[in-house]
């Protein structure tokens, strides 16, 4: 045996094979996540938002608004989310002239009333049913209608709603959506599939007999009337509730339309879910919401739950679990 300790140490060290390593992707993802977090884009001019998701384009104000853009692996922007906290919206509202404030308040009341009617109708519908609802327009709505050049609805004063199809297990749901994506039967933390809905787009192409609906409303002495219409078979989104003793976690899978969204979240940050850029929003009622578009697909995933049900990190792990399923 070689008595030279240098040679013996060298031989022993060399005899130990060193595994190959590739951490490039992880390091770059960590760097990008940090960079993106620090570089939230601040846009200067925004359209005024009175109610979340309801853009009123007539006025605009100057304000600093945070926006996060999600990009795919090619660097293309695939989703954009802008933050308008409730506080900001209230401030913007207060900055308006009194007559404008009054108009907005009336408009909000009108929408609230229509929501109540729609909900009442939906409650009486069987799963998988679509209806067209006619609302008798107010004078202001008739005036506004004159300025509308394009709408998803072909006919004025018509709102279309439908009820989803409900599935009690993934096994039941899989034949319907399984070609597009797979969801787990159980999420990390012991949350089991509880109930899931598959929603289809409203049947925008269908033309209802508007005059017949108007006559029905008069006959029933109501300012609205509705009629059943054929449902569309164009997939919109799937929403599944997972349940444990702690509470529920909701997972949604939508068709990514490259669109923009607004949120009244208190905070938002960009995170990574696997190789995908994702946005994590934290809301006033103490829940977290993660949204991402899965690379190589046209699917936008989201997962949300209350802080008392799962922590932020646990929710991130759940998102990763969902994302990893082929």
């Amino acid at each position: 045996m070689d008595k030279n300790p240098f040679n013996r140490m060298r031989d022993m060290l060399r005899a130990k094979p060193v595994p190959k390593v590739d951490v490039k992707h992880k390091v770059m993802a960590a760097i990008r996540a940090k960079e993106n977090k620090e570089e939230k884009i601040v846009k200067k001019k925004i359209g005024l938002l009175v109610t979340v998701g309801m853009l009123v384009g007539a006025s605009s104000v100057w304000a600093g608004v945070e926006m996060i853009q999600l990009k795919n692996e090619k660097g293309e922007v695939i989703y954009e989310i802008t933050q308008h906290t409730d506080q900001e919206q209230q401030q913007l509202f207060k900055q308006m002239p009194p007559e404008e404030q009054k108009k907005r308040e009336e408009l909000n009341k009108r929408y609230e009333y229509q929501d109540e009617v729609v909900n009442e109708i939906i409650d009486g519908l069987k799963p998988g049913t679509s209806v067209a609802i006619y609302f008798k327009p107010t004078k202001e709505e008739e005036e506004r209608q004159k300025n509308i050049t394009w709408s998803r609805y072909k006919q004025p004063y018509i709102t279309m709603v439908s009820t989803p199809l409900t599935y009690k297990s993934w096994k039941e749901m899989e034949p319907v959506v399984g070609k597009m994506f797979t969801l787990p039967t159980e999420l990390a933390g012991g949350f089991r599939y509880d109930e899931g809905d598959v929603h289809y787009e409203e049947n925008y192409e269908y033309e209802v007999d508007l005059e017949a609906l108007k006559a029905k409303a008069i006959k029933e002495n109501k300012d609205y009337a509705f009629t059943e219409i054929p449902s569309s078979n164009k997939y919109d989104f799937t929403s599944v509730a997972y349940k444990s003793e702690k509470g529920k976690v909701r997972v949604e899978v939508r068709i990514a339309d490259g669109g923009k969204a607004g949120t009244n979240a208190e905070a938002m940050e960009k995170i990574m879910i696997g190789n995908n850029e994702a946005v994590l929003t934290t809301h006033t009622s103490n829940f977290h919401w993660i949204t991402w578009v899965k690379n190589g697909t046209k699917l936008k995933y989201s997962v949300r739950a209350g802080e008392d049900v799962v922590s932020k990190d646990e929710l991130i792990n759940i998102a990763k679990q969902i994302n990893e399923i082929k």
Binding site: R8, L13, V27
Partner: protein, 190 residues
């Protein structure tokens, strides 16, 4: 990779060309991993370490001044990281109640390290070496680097390192097995 090529890449990265850092990672990840693997004796810890080193290097790139080679700068970060990990492990032995234990109360961090990497007798020797001594052994014995090069990396004089290395070799010799299976200190090696 040539020094000028590295400097060009670093300048581009500092100017905002993040994707160029991938080339840097490709070039350095395996050598830094190999170093961390020998320092820590544990694959997962070494993988975590190399990620941390390359991430921190990017974060502090503005502080890199070209007064020493980029490679030496990376090794210094890796050394500091590994030394901290080893310090934590040592603390976990001294203050075990502060650290993770399994159901039987064993400190699994330390055990997984010792059983996963080095077999006897290297393990026995390695456990007796400090972070600095392990670095010196790795660079001098395994990588066969010159003292001048190691001096840059460890921020010490070559002569000091030469003496230190001789002392480390003697220490190693003490724990190397003899042909009869009995160590120089009189204890059985197996």
């Amino acid at each position: 990779m040539e020094k000028t090529e590295i400097e060009r890449l670093l300048n581009e990265i500092k100017a905002g060309s993040l994707e160029q850092y991938e080339i840097i990672i490709d070039h350095y990840q395996q050598p830094i991993f190999t170093y961390c693997y020998h320092m820590l004796g544990h694959r997962q810890d070494a993988e975590d370490a190399v990620q941390e080193v390359l991430f921190r290097a990017y974060e502090h790139l503005g502080q890199y001044t070209y007064s020493l080679s980029f490679s030496a700068w990376l090794y210094r970060i890796a050394f500091n990281h590994c030394a901290n990990v080893l310090k934590r492990r040592k603390l976990s032995r001294v203050l075990p109640f502060l650290y993770n234990r399994d159901q039987d109360g064993r400190n699994y961090v330390e055990e997984s390290i010792d059983s996963n990497h080095f077999g006897e007798p290297l393990e026995r020797i390695w456990k007796r070496l400090s972070a600095e001594e392990r670095t010196l052994m790795f660079l001098r014995v395994l990588e066969e680097r010159e003292y001048e090069e190691i001096a840059e990396l460890m921020d010490k004089k070559p002569a000091t390192l030469r003496k230190q290395f001789e002392r480390v070799l003697k220490k190693c010799k003490r724990y190397l097995p003899t042909t009869g299976g009995v160590r120089n200190d009189g204890q059985k090696s197996v």
